[in-house]
């Protein structure tokens, strides 16, 4: 059962081939066996999962089951889950039991899904390798020497290892798409504002977006149907009709105009990744698509702009972790300043501290115009690049990451790590949706093809990804896992 897609499992449950309890138990059992070596989960909620599975089975018995009823999921540990520790991968929140559910958690629960637990991540979603977790690094199921990518590395690894058919991730600069690429699964970052951020622990509020991580585009579409939509509790969520994302999945791609940004095929791109991506583009051509070259002239400014805006927002977002109301508090503070300093020195890891410092600096008097304001100007230019490109083409395609998964500890220099997000980060700055789909294996390491669309173009992206997955089998490849 563990290598089936969400859609296949849904059909199995509907046909009565197995119950949600059987499915859930077997996955919980598999997590127990395999995850100690992978470390993809921070918290496994066995008891609650079985209860939810029984409830879903009972509902099905009464004939009231929905399409997602009884399907197991896992949540990146950045989504608040009532009564369950929600750590954001940080020592700071190691003792934090969320008193409420995030909107997406609530929606997916309402749809009848079963939560198996909370997945590992880079602390406060800051990282591209999942090495910045207080709970230790996650291993890539394809090869335990490799990182799974980050920051949603736990969700990606858990899905790739068949511990759960789908998981939720969040993407601020590539945190869904890059780990999806490294682990050989499908991950969608929706348009900013498409999915509620309420209850999602904030890293960089103007960039953060939740999305599904699963084996196939079809599975992502099923989850998006439940996740997307306006939330009165999130002022940045957009009030706009939610289409049925599963409806148009099979639309033929004749005449599809694909743009290849020249900037995404330049220096720094590993040849094996370029080969796989160009091969994928050829598959599209064979399916009737037209390919043209386009330019996104401000691409090179995306990383610098991101590393001003995201840390600036983070520096304020993380101020609430002060040891006063929740989370870690240092022992025996002598005064207020001591409480703040030691609580934060002990509770945050190095990368989080680095970004708080950068953000605090760039917002400081005398630096604001040179950094923050300039970065916002660049952000508008980058957005305009994409708007201009989408005036000419339907979708853009390129690599999701410049390389395949690298070895643990290989990127000790933070800037080298930041360059991992070179093809994903601009998408968050522009607010557009992007999806990463498995498009090859190089040296037994998965390669991700990234497909980008205009704002609120998720349905079309899923269609473009799904048709490709009907024509290829990369998404069906599974790592060999030692049990």
């Amino acid at each position: 059962m563990h290598d089936k897609t969400l859609a296949e499992l849904a059909r199995g449950l509907a046909a009565g081939d197995f119950s949600s309890r059987e499915l859930t138990s077997s996955l919980l059992e598999r997590i127990k066996r395999i995850d100690p070596a992978l470390n993809s989960f921070i918290t496994v909620t066995d008891e609650q999962a079985l209860k939810e599975a029984d409830a879903a089975d009972a509902l099905r018995h009464k004939g009231e089951a929905g399409i997602l009823s009884g399907l197991p999921l896992a949540y990146k540990d950045i989504f608040c889950t009532e009564g369950v520790r929600t750590s954001a991968g940080s020592k700071m929140l190691d003792n934090f039991i969320a008193p409420y559910n995030a909107t997406v958690v609530e929606k997916l629960r309402h749809a009848g899904t079963v939560s198996l637990g909370k997945t590992n991540m880079d602390e406060f979603a800051m990282g591209s390798s999942n090495e910045n977790s207080y709970y230790g690094p996650v291993k890539n199921p394809w090869n335990p020497k490799l990182v799974p990518g980050g920051s949603s590395g736990g969700s990606a690894a858990a899905v790739a290892a068949g511990l759960v058919p789908a998981a939720l991730g969040t993407d601020t600069g590539g945190s869904i798409r890059q780990p999806a690429a490294f682990c050989g699964i499908t991950g969608l970052k929706p348009t900013y504002g498409r999915v509620s951020r309420y209850g999602m622990i904030a890293y960089a509020s103007s960039l953060d977006q939740a999305g599904p991580m699963a084996r196939t585009a079809e599975d992502c579409a099923m989850l998006m149907n439940a996740m997307a939509g306006h939330d009165a509790r999130d002022s940045t969520s957009v009030s706009r009709n939610v289409p049925d994302y599963t409806q148009g999945l099979n639309k033929p791609l004749n005449g599809l105009k694909i743009g290849l940004p020249v900037e995404y095929f330049g220096e720094g791109l590993a040849p094996e990744v370029e080969t796989a991506v160009r091969e994928a583009v050829r598959v599209y051509e064979s399916l009737g698509a037209q390919v043209i070259e386009v330019s996104l002239p401000h691409t090179s400014m995306a990383i610098p702009a991101y590393y001003v805006i995201a840390p600036a927002e983070a520096s304020a977002n993380l101020s609430r972790y002060d040891g006063v109301r929740f989370g870690h508090r240092c022992k025996d503070p002598v005064d207020l300043e001591d409480l703040y300093k030691r609580t934060r020195a002990e509770g945050f890891g190095d990368e989080v501290k680095r970004r708080i410092l950068i953000g605090t600096h760039t917002l400081s008097e005398g630096f604001f115009d040179a950094y923050y304001r300039k970065a916002q100007q660049i952000r508008r230019l980058i957005r305009q690049d994409f708007l201009d490109a989408f005036a000419r083409v339907d979708v853009l395609m390129g690599p999701a990451a410049p390389t395949t998964a690298f070895e643990l500890g290989a990127k000790a220099d933070p800037v080298q790590m930041y360059l991992q997000d070179i093809y994903t980060i601009a998408i968050n700055l522009a607010g557009i949706p992007g999806i990463s789909v498995p498009a090859g294996l190089a040296d037994n390491r998965p390669v991700g093809l990234q497909i980008l669309g205009p704002h609120f173009g998720e349905a079309h992206l899923l269609n473009v990804a799904h048709v490709y997955q009907q024509a290829t089998d990369w998404h069906q490849r599974r790592p060999e896992i030692k049990e």
Binding site: F79, T86, Y100, I201, S235, S319, D322, F326
Partner: protein
């Protein structure tokens, strides 16, 4: 040297919304600590703010009331600093793009002159919680009930030049916000607090002197006293050849002095930046016009009407429009008795006098506007005389009767206007006081006028105050003059 005092004020007004500016928690005053703080007010991870629309409406109405520009676009920003009663580590406020732009407020000074104070802008922000240092030895308690309460910070230009002007300005702001119903204006509960900027410069100098900011002054009286102290302090420094340093000071009402809190060097860099959780606030013309249509009659308009239509003096009009409840009380009394001047005299004299003596607010008056109006009706139609009216008022105050008519009836205060009855009383008094009659007859004409008072008093006494004094006076004069 002659010094020119320059004062600017930042007034924080608590908007009287039911719920907080970014959450659904209640804003009621006086609840048990931390019972009115939800996850958003606590800054729980993952929570997000949603702007309270009624706070926006109130801010806009204030802007319209002071003839300010209402920009079509305003932005919430984060003001970053650490403090235990600031749950998120930043205050959501407005900086570069406030909801209310430039406007002006007229203030009336003691001598009746009217002066215009320019408003630089007014912006919305959330209040912090409270740190409670007293009740916990060696520790600090935090009460987050107030965290997230909507505030409107009204920032004036440095247009005031004395404590009196500053005080008149705060009273004017108080009147506007209470008229608009956007704040209860209760300074004791912290619904209005001021930061006062004071500086001195040699008379005639253009350039402003270095200012000190006095934080968190929370009564009209303290504002005047804090400014008076600060002017003296700075004057002494300057006259001793010293320099005033730019700093934030606190006023201590017990010691009646200000003391330094932090200097400019110690000031925080608040690192303002637009709050990414809140979209820019866009207000279109239709919305603004709708808010305009909801504006009540404002203090300045009411004052003008009281003078022009009701014939009150500017002084009376100013006192009576001092607060909306007082103006409404007066208008109710006036409508009842249809005599504006009489109503104005009674409200300002007897009523406000009694209220002040008993430390009561107009809203707490034991005598309602209807009761006072009912009393004045009887004065106007000559049912009772002025002296009896005072007695009826005293009884109404003591709740000894439901209406003036009940008291007039039960106490037998109805004025005797029956000529026959008065005549017999007059005859009786003349007969009983032959000595005084003789004196009257022998007095010169100009003295008789005064002497008549004795006889009137005797008749009034005999009537137990119910006779109509002018009537008695006329009749006695006639009778006594007949004896000449």
């Amino acid at each position: 040297m002659q010094w020119d005092v320059v004062i600017g004020l930042e007034v924080h007004v608590q908007l009287s919304t039911c719920s907080k500016i970014f959450s659904g928690a209640s804003t009621a005053f006086g609840a048990e600590p931390n019972t009115q703080a939800c996850g958003i007010d606590l800054g729980l991870p993952g929570t997000l703010p949603v702007l309270n629309e009624s706070a926006v409406a109130m801010a806009v109405r204030f802007g319209l009331a002071i003839n300010a520009e209402i920009p079509e676009y305003s932005v919430f920003e984060r003001k970053n600093y650490f403090y235990p009663d600031l749950p998120k580590g930043y205050q959501t406020s407005q900086m570069a793009h406030p909801v209310v732009g430039r406007g002006e407020v007229d203030i009336t000074l003691g001598d009746g002159t009217v002066k215009t104070v320019r408003i630089h802008h007014a912006h919305m922000e959330e209040d912090a919680g409270k740190s409670l240092h007293e009740d916990y030895s060696g520790m600090t308690g935090i009460d987050l009930n107030r965290a997230g309460t909507p505030l409107l910070e009204i920032v004036s230009e440095p247009d005031m030049h004395s404590a009196e002007e500053a005080s008149a300005y705060i009273r004017a702001i108080h009147a506007i916000v209470t008229y608009l119903g956007i704040s209860d204006g209760n300074m004791a509960e912290g619904s209005m607090r001021c930061d006062v900027n004071v500086s001195l410069r040699p008379k005639g100098q253009e350039k402003l002197g270095t200012r000190a900011e006095i934080k968190n002054v929370n009564s009209f009286r303290f504002v005047e006293r804090a400014i008076a102290f600060e002017i003296e302090r700075q004057r002494e420094i300057l006259e001793d050849g010293g320099v005033v340093i730019q700093e934030t000071r606190l006023y201590n009402p017990d010691l009646d002095e200000t003391r330094s809190m932090r200097t400019k060097e110690e000031a925080n860099d608040y690192r303002y930046f637009p709050c990414p959780d809140l979209l820019p606030l866009m207000l279109d013309e239709a919305y603004i016009e709708h808010q305009r249509s909801l504006l009540p009659e404002l203090p300045s308009e009411k004052r003008q009407r009281f003078v022009e239509s009701l014939g009150l003096s500017t002084y009376d009009a100013d006192v009576l429009t001092g607060s909306r409840p007082l103006a409404e009380y007066f208008e109710a009394v006036q409508q009842h008795c249809s005599d504006a001047k009489l109503a104005a005299n009674w409200v300002q004299g007897d009523l406000l006098g009694r209220l002040n003596r008993d430390g009561l607010d107009i809203t707490e008056s034991p005598v309602s506007a209807e009761q006072l109006g009912g009393l004045l009706v009887r004065l106007v139609d000559d049912t009772i005389n002025g002296k009896a009216a005072k007695q009826v008022f005293a009884d109404l105050w003591e709740c000894k009767g439901e209406t003036a008519d009940d008291i007039i009836e039960s106490r037998g205060l109805k004025q005797v206007t029956d000529t026959g009855a008065i005549e017999s009383l007059c005859d009786q008094v003349i007969a009983d006081n032959p000595v005084q009659v003789t004196q009257y007859r022998e007095a010169t004409e100009d003295k008789r006028g005064k002497m008549i008072g004795f006889f009137v008093g005797q008749v009034m006494k005999a009537s137990r105050g119910t006779a109509n004094p002018p009537q008695v006076n006329a009749m006695l004069t006639e009778k006594l003059d007949a004896l000449l």
